[in-house]
């Protein structure tokens, strides 16, 4: 029986209906968006500061009011009533409409910023001009399409963050984690880079740098113009450059070992931050099938290989040949990259072979593609060429396909269709690298509580990463999956207290059983020892 509402009506029956208060709140929020649309149509507001503040306040207050209207009259607890009936959250009419609008916005943002009002030489118009006053206060410069995007992104995380905080007001883990993503977005992604831009003058200039945005998510961090600009900025610039390298090679492995990749993906990262707040109403739309898991492993690891190749080629292209000019030459760099990859690969193959199983094959394939390509660079390429392609072509292709289309248009635009973590699951090379480590060398796991699972499926349904959590829980097996971002929702929605995210010793981390706890002790021993 189909109970999903696919009609256009905003009215309906509880729990899918909006009450009066929720409708008014929606009106306030949409009026905030309406101001932005008017600006886009070049209405030409005379008091831009006022109208910008009015718009952002209306969006924020509308969201908070909606939150209050939805949850305040109910006791604290899981609030998933009607999720599968509401058109917006069950791929109904409003789901598709918002998906198309978001997707359209991303296409314009990435490829046609002139339609938003971006003017290269001269004053901005339209939507971007509306944001000029705020941009001038923060960085001293007029706004760009990225400033508009960054501001809306931050407002969205803050407003929907408050919604999430109230929705999960009974859950300390969810609250802390949400405060964390709200803080990192506001401070690190939004304010600090703008203030850094303010420090720039004719003799001192730092590139735009969101410090928590780590390579390879930040795939352009080591491009020529940035590296030059870091080096030219003296000690501070050099420190930032070194921080960028340490982030991926030292800081990330230590934190992932101790806490799993959640420290980044659901506590710090901006993409994760948006997914966990704005994307929360869509988390259940992720595909849980085994087929989707297969696709995920192939696609995401291919992106890792792609980004490694691309970055290596880019850096290689601007390095010199002679040691007299600079200590890092083309040859030393390539040798270094090959060495690091070989060490990681050898470590995984020698010490973690049993845990790898099929995954080992994927790792091996990726590894050899990179190594062969590296050798290719060295022997067959001219300056900056990789076989027939220029490193610049490789960079541009990556920026277009992965940086724009995958992470933006598909990743966020399709929230209401594919769920909130499509980018994180299928595309993000950072998540893949952290995941590789989480799977093989981390204290993090989701512990399954003995024999308490009733296979109800809430955990799998609400897993935004499409992990079939129940498949493990009903076997009494702990969940150790590379894609798990540690959002903690499986544990929250479990009606029987079966799942617990925790960091513990590596020994006994998976702990799988055929016969579950609660049955005959001898039978458990017999069956489980045969494994």
């Amino acid at each position: 029986m189909r109970t999903v509402d696919r009609s256009m009506a905003l009215t309906g029956e509880p729990p899918k209906a909006l009450d009066l208060s929720q409708k008014l709140a929606t009106l306030v929020g949409l009026s905030g968006l309406g101001i932005l649309v008017l600006a886009l149509l070049n209405i030409g507001f005379s008091h831009r500061t006022f109208w910008l503040m009015a718009s952002l306040s209306a969006i924020t207050l509308g969201t908070i009011w909606f939150t209050w209207a939805s949850y305040a009259h109910k006791p604290a607890g899981i609030k998933n009533d009607g999720v599968m009936f509401k058109s917006i959250s069950s791929r109904g009419f409003w789901g598709w409409v918002s998906g198309l609008l978001l997707t359209g916005f991303y296409i314009v943002l990435y490829f046609y910023p002139q339609y938003l009002g971006l003017v290269k030489d001269g004053d901005n118009t339209g939507l971007i001009a509306l944001f000029d006053p705020l941009s001038k206060v923060l960085s001293g410069n007029p706004a760009s399409q990225w400033f508009v995007y960054g501001t809306l992104y931050t407002v969205a995380i803050l407003a929907f963050g408050i919604k999430f905080l109230y929705k999960y007001r009974h859950n300390a883990y969810e609250r802390l984690r949400t405060f964390s993503v709200m803080f990192f977005q506001t401070a690190f992604a939004f304010l600090i880079p703008e203030f850094m831009a303010r420090l720039n003058n004719e003799t001192f200039s730092l590139p735009y740098y969101d410090l928590k945005n780590i390579w390879p998510l930040n795939y352009y961090n080591f491009e020529r113009y940035r590296v030059n600009s870091f080096i030219d900025a003296g000690d501070i610039g050099l420190a930032l450059l070194i921080f960028g390298v340490l982030s991926i090679f030292v800081i990330t492995p230590i934190l992932t070992y101790k806490y799993g990749k959640r420290w980044y993906c659901s506590w710090v990262c901006g993409c994760g931050g948006l997914a966990e707040t704005v994307g929360d109403p869509f988390r259940h739309l992720s595909d849980k099938s085994q087929f989707a898991w297969k696709v995920e492993r192939w696609v995401v690891h291919s992106v890792v290989v792609f980004v490694t190749l691309m970055t290596t080629a880019v850096i290689y292209s601007y390095l010199g040949n002679a040691t007299s000019e600079y200590w890092l030459t083309k040859t030393t760099f390539l040798t270094g990259v090959a060495l690091i990859l070989t060490i990681v690969f050898a470590w995984a193959m020698i010490y973690k072979r049993e845990q790898l199983k099929k995954d080992a094959k994927y790792g091996a394939i990726g590894y050899f593609i990179i190594i062969i390509a590296l050798i290719g660079f060295h022997f067959f390429s001219g300056d900056g060429n990789v076989f027939l392609f220029k490193s610049e072509t490789l960079r541009r292709t990556y920026a277009f396909l992965i940086g724009s289309i995958f992470s933006g248009v598909i990743g966020t635009g399709f929230y209401p269709i594919f769920g909130s973590r499509v980018w994180c699951r299928f595309g993000c090379p950072m998540a893949a690298i952290l995941g590789f480590q989480q799977r093989l060398f981390s204290k993090f796991r989701i512990t399954t509580n003995g024999g308490q699972c009733i296979s109800c499926g809430n955990c799998s349904t609400y897993c935004e990463m499409g992990i079939d959590v129940r498949a493990y829980a009903q076997k009494g097996e702990n969940i150790v999956r590379s894609s798990c971002v540690g959002c903690g929702i499986c544990s929250a929605v479990c009606p029987r207290g079966v799942l617990k995210l925790e960091n513990g010793p590596l020994e006994g981390r998976i702990n799988s059983k055929d016969v579950l706890l609660g049955n005959d002790v001898d039978l458990m021993d017999l069956v489980n020892s045969k494994k």
């Binding site: 509880p14 729990p15 006791p75 009533d81 300390a172 099938s289 308490q452 544990s491 029987r496 006994g508």
Partner: protein, 449 residues
């Protein structure tokens, strides 16, 4: 090739099938009239509430059955000829078996109330019941008030379901306090308060006299007060009993359920019964002869698979455990904690309740020896392995108190109450137990043994 036929595709039947497949390459057929694929019965409530779609309640993808060579037949078994080892289905098919497992589950109790078969009166056990509920109570316009009869786990779940669609609910509970035949009074009292907070019209000490209506239910009469309550829907949730009607005229020995020995064997050779429909000839420990619980269904499935595959084993369940969720309050239990009505003189209780939150626990222990008997927790999750181990090791309540932190299973950053609990225990008993820090070493020595 030996043919194993299983009637019923609930947790008991499916677990049996999976384990038989692990142990052998016998031909396995599961017959069910209810649905083609296995689903989690305990999750039906979430479909009505819109937390999940029905497909989400299916623990295995559709390819699983073919891959594991488990044949699924959707049909209703009308008759079993035990002599010729043949099943006869309502669509006129005959299926032969070498070994037969009956895992037919249970159905809602009806105690002969007048009007119990009117339209708008139903229980909630099967997928068909769920579909019927969508017809009977799709919203608060069609169903202006619902009355739920019977204060057990399904009863409170049905209340929660209907409330999610803002249907006014009256909840008739025969006992003086909710579920007080099972729970100690402090806990039962806390649940009474929580039920009312969810705007459920809880009527304690109230049982059903009759259901009135022409064709469709119009009202119910309460036995104790004679009060008539107008309603469009009546949920019958006064327990369940084994689904064995189609076996009544056969040679199979029946009691309340299908009588089995400790090997889960019925009186007929090569016929076994597991799960809700099985009745132990002699109760095991404190357990009831018929146990309609998810976990026991699963355990019987695990056990009977061994027997069928040549390793004849007694059904010998370990320490009792269970869990549930009452609206927003989660409940765990390990070992035996009896209600005030049912506990023996030797069983003493230590009860602690948080001053403002819906959090409490009760620990049962033996009067003379201080032996730890069991624990109920509400609003605190507990580690199954740890309590199972403590029960096996015959630990004292003092030891449990001292190591309580090892057993906590709440999510990270949740407030911990061990110190408050043990302080309260110390002052009540005049003891001086110090709570020890959680030790991974101790926990792992239990969980990875």
């Amino acid at each position: 090739m030996e043919k194993v036929v299983i009637i019923g595709n609930g947790i008991a039947g499916v677990t049996a099938a999976r384990h038989i497949r692990k142990l052998s390459d016998k031909k396995i057929t599961i017959i069910s009239a209810e649905t083609k694929y296995f689903f989690s019965r305990t999750a039906l409530m979430y479909v009505y509430m819109g937390h999940m779609k029905f497909e989400h309640t299916q623990p295995y993808e559709d390819w699983f059955w073919k891959k594991n060579k488990i044949e699924l037949v959707q049909a209703y078994v009308e008759k079993i000829d035990f002599k010729s080892k043949t099943l006869h289905t309502s669509d006129n098919r005959d299926l032969e078996y070498d070994q037969l497992i009956l895992a037919t589950g249970s159905q809602p109790n009806k105690f002969g109330w007048p009007g119990q078969n009117l339209k708008g009166v139903q229980g909630l056990v099967s997928k068909q019941d769920l579909d019927l509920l969508e017809t009977n109570a799709p919203n608060n316009k069609v169903c202006k008030r619902a009355v739920i009869v019977g204060g057990g786990l399904i009863g409170i779940e049905l209340c929660e379901m209907l409330r999610s669609r803002e249907i006014p609910v009256t909840f008739l509970v025969r006992e003086a306090s909710f579920w007080d035949g099972v729970l100690p009074s402090g806990e039962s009292q806390m649940l009474n308060e929580h039920i009312k907070k969810h705007h459920i019209d809880l009527r304690l000490g109230s049982s059903l006299r009759e259901i009135k209506g022409e064709e469709h239910v119009q009202s119910v009469i309460i036995e104790e007060t004679g009060e008539e309550i107008e309603c469009d829907f009546v949920g019958l949730t006064a327990g369940v009993s084994p689904s064995i009607d189609f076996l009544k005229s056969s040679d199979l020995q029946l009691g309340k359920g299908i009588l089995v020995n400790r090997y889960l064997e019925t009186n007929i050779k090569d016929v076994y019964a597991i799960g809700d429909c099985a009745e132990q000839r002699e109760a095991i420990g404190h357990r009831r002869p018929v146990e309609a619980v998810w976990y026991t269904g699963r355990m019987m499935g695990e056990t009977v698979a061994q027997t069928i595959c040549g390793n004849r084993r007694e059904y010998n369940p370990g320490h009792w455990f269970n869990s549930a969720k009452f609206l927003d309050i989660e409940y765990h239990t390990y070992g035996w904690v009896f209600s005030d009505k049912n506990k023996s003189e030797d069983e003493l209780h230590f009860h602690w309740r948080h001053s403002s939150e819906n959090i409490c626990l009760t620990i049962a222990y033996q009067k003379q020896t201080n032996l730890f008997l069991g624990i109920n927790t509400f609003g605190i999750r507990m580690r199954h392995e740890v309590f199972d181990h403590w029960l096996s090791e015959y630990t004292s309540i003092d030891y449990v108190m001292e190591h309580l932190k090892d057993a906590n299973f709440d999510p990270e950053f949740y407030s911990r109450y061990e110190h408050q609990i043990v302080d309260s225990y110390n002052s009540e008993k005049g003891k001086n137990i110090q709570v020890r820090k959680r030790s991974w070493k101790r926990i792992l020595s239990i969980t990875t043994n």
